[in-house]
Symmetry: C2
Subunit: 226 residues, 2 copies
């Protein structure tokens, strides 16, 4: 049987990959990475750990969920990886959080390939740690979404992270302000280009798609979000 | 200045610590770990990576948020770590998700200690990966809570993870069933004692506090949660 590990590499800092990711990268027969618009952040991270291995790029355009692309990619992986071999597919963040890997995984499962998913640090965990602000303490709740914030949920939770906020930041911020949340914008958290922005106008000017807004209703003792 | 790194070790599998955690464990002057009821899972993980370093246990009882304990622990860390030295404090999961580290961090910040938090794999990320079930795909939302599930939020989200479910599993499961969620119970996810339970009666019989329920409203193609 063939085996593929879908591995989360974390937010982008090469030190934030897990030991399991590192060990599998060293031991595997093939490394597959997603590429979008000519770039692969996963490849640039893994290249810091291995130079001797062939890294195969799979071209996806991020944001579009075009089933044919995932079918083709699964077909390609299946034709390259032979019986008894081990491959890894590397993805940024955690594989089960808004990842194109999820669609690829379902396509891979149609072939006779064993699929094991290895968690990675999600961007919202990285953001909270980078800010020293809790996602949740005892009895609190957290809401994770992309783009569209549901006000019914917002009313009832203590903290929220919105991913991929580049398209409707103004609407998101208006809702957060209406419901008395303090918020902060982080662009490319724990990558070299990281920027933390508190000023509303500056937040609205930025349009990086690898950005998130993290917000809390109650602030803690000795602590200010802004 | 003194510096302490608050480091998430992930769910319990020693391979799921980050390279950054590993490098800091190797480089630091002191290692602090929480202990509860005579046991320290963090210590048992870090012991697999270092034998030459003195590991200092700080006694907390999990679940109780007794401020004096955190004050005492911060005081102890401050008295042991000298200027220009580096210490690490290790915690299971992610430091910003329902962690006692959060309370300790606020106490440490009252001293002249620089605090940096290093993310770890949270239990719910580990659970979703272990099950090969997405937390979120495009346009979906996720709700994280401990013990008490708010039905208004439950109605509006696509997936949910409830941590520390040992006290009111029956109430949680009733709410999930009422709102047409498929659910699974995982005990000690990615630890040696891991158990995945789908049967309602069996779930109700278990009472491990390191357990969670993960549930989704919509299931995906080619996939069954149960």
């Amino acid at each position: 049987m063939k085996k593929i590990y879908g591995i989360g590499l974390g937010p982008g800092d090469e030190e934030l990959i897990t030991m399991k990711a590192y060990n599998l990268i060293k031991a595997c027969d093939y490394i597959f990475v997603p590429k979008s618009k000519g770039k692969s952040l996963a490849k640039s991270i893994v290249s810091k750990y291995t130079s001797e291995k062939n890294i195969i790029e799979l071209d996806f355009s991020m944001g579009e969920d075009n089933t044919a692309k995932y079918e083709d990619a699964a077909q390609k992986i299946n034709s390259i990886v032979k019986d008894q071999q081990i491959a890894v597919y590397l993805t940024i963040g955690d594989p089960m959080v808004y990842s194109t890997y999820i669609y690829l995984m379902y396509e891979l499962q149609k072939f006779n390939i064993q699929v094991e998913t290895v968690p990675g640090i999600a961007s919202f965990n990285a953001a909270a740690c980078c800010l020293n602000i809790p996602i949740t303490i005892k009895d609190e709740s957290f809401y994770l979404c992309d783009r569209n914030v549901d006000e019914k949920i917002l009313q009832a939770v203590d903290s929220i992270c919105i991913l991929k906020v580049n398209q409707n930041k103004r609407d998101i911020i208006n809702k957060l302000e209406k419901h008395h949340f303090s918020y902060v914008y982080i662009k490319r958290c724990m990558q070299e280009e990281q920027e933390i922005i508190y000023d509303k106008n500056q937040i609205l000017l930025d349009d990086d798609y690898m950005s998130l807004i993290f917000a809390r209703k109650k602030l803690m003792n000795h602590h200010n979000l802004i």
